[in-house]
Amino acid sequence: MYRATSALTLSALVASLLTPNGLYAADEHAHRQHAAHVHGIATLTLAAGDHEVQVMLSSPAANIVGFEHPPASESDRRAVAEAKAKLEDAQRLFVFPPAAGCQTVHSEIQSELFASAHAAHAHEAEHEHEGHPAQHADIVAEYHFECATPGKLERLQVQLFEVFPATEHLEVEYVIGDKQGAAELGHAHPILTF
């Protein structure tokens, strides 16, 4: 297995640039760390406590958008915007037991691809002819739910495989109250039982 347990994700990068720690990034002692990046595999973490449920999905952009280069054409940009809209629809992606009464409070989608959507034109002209190597890109989606009856949180149906068929496996780690666990979901078994 060449997947590292840590996902050095964009959000972490962004966060680290904003915090004092981030000073290292610009430093000449910049640490060269690369999280593993395997197309078809995404990771999901779920933490539930009291009425709060936090879900974070990290996936290679290829699983979600279909490519990982900065959007170059109009159709690329459309694909990115579409993917982002689908990711923002938390209720479509995650089906909690109705009895738990969970509502989406907040969702936030981050990726290099979205960032470059604005600045793409300027950079394209510069880099297009330099044979800029294709970079890997990740998408990190964070969701925040509030559940009225958290005691009824017995399972979670993940519809990611239907919405984004390029996602083959989802590696899940969860913390619910005192209980920790891990599971692997896929097309054939998309339901996580806690």
Binding site: S6, A7, A12, Y24, T45, V175, Q180, A182
Partner: protein, 419 residues
Amino acid sequence: MPILSLAWKSLLNRRFTVMLTVFSIALSVALLLGVERLRDQTRASFANTISGTDLIVGARGGAVQLLLYSVFRMGDASNNLSWESYQAIARHPKVAWTVPMSLGDSHRGYRVLGTNGDYFEHYRYARKQALSFAQGTPFSDLYDAVLGAEVASALGYRLGDPIVLAHGASDVAFARHDDKPFRVVGILARTGTPVDRTVHVSLQGIEAIHVGWESGAPARGLSPSAERARTMDLTPEAITAILVGLKSRIATFQVQRYVNDYRAEPLTAILPGATLSQLWSLIGIAENALLIVSTFVVVVGLFGMLTAVLTSLNERRREMAILRSVGARPGHVFALVMGESGVLTLFGVALGFTLLHVLLFVAQPILENQFGISIAIGAPSLYEISLLGIICASGILIGAIPAYRAYKLSLADGLSVRV
């Protein structure tokens, strides 16, 4: 009713083969149930090893490896983590408590764990059970040691006994820290976890015995005396792993990311519960193989019974004919043979169940001492009862084959049958 007593007498007449058949079914049932019981209990004691710890932090590496060396005392760390990183993690606002762990030395085959008093306070196993002292107290002096239950019982140590730690895993004369013996001040109550097989000393104690050992052996004249070591600064430079408890569990992944992205040092934080279930899913494959093999043993046992009953039919053609002559109908013959298989299976299952419990009763202390697997001897679980039910039903069903054959024969044969 007379037909039943006839059937019983017929069985007694063939008692040797019958006993062998029953015994082979019993053995196969005992094996299947035994494997099932062991599987269940291993899983339980496995999952019970650690609880209440939200994260375990070690040097960057595999999650399973970190879990194995920090909790199960198996294998070794590829790297240590620095004391500064430990301090930074302990200061993180979401962290409630931390327990530093330093591994690497041994005492007569048992691992030595360097830690601090928080270990006895925060380490939890099974359903949030805290460690308790069977005798004595936690370490307070530099050269105090607290023994796990098994270490104490296997090596016969009592409070106040001196023990000498060995450098690394090998206990050879030149690698013993015999200039600085430790004193047993506490013995923990049995937990059924790797804690039982651990010698606990303070982090400073670990440091003290290693001063002057930088080359891997005591440098002549460089290793200070036990008393002089007390005056030195014994803050370790590096430790092996940290157990972390959080103020709020919902922050688990947040703190995990903080550790995994920690820039000054490559670190890994794992969720012990999640890694346990990953590890178990690996082991689960071997576990299923074992269950499949024992299921086949039961199938073989039932086939053995089928063979035995079928072979006996030829010898019993005259018996059947006589039964028919005194008024038994072909249907009676069918019921008789089928009932016989049923009785053999039932006896086999009952004997197997008893056999297993006798075996468990004998093996329980050995399993607990040698492998740390505690097997509860209790009423069979619902799953076990359904397994037994399936075996009985298949035994009775299989009996239909020889019964049908006896039925046909009894229709065809007259009294003049030649056997």
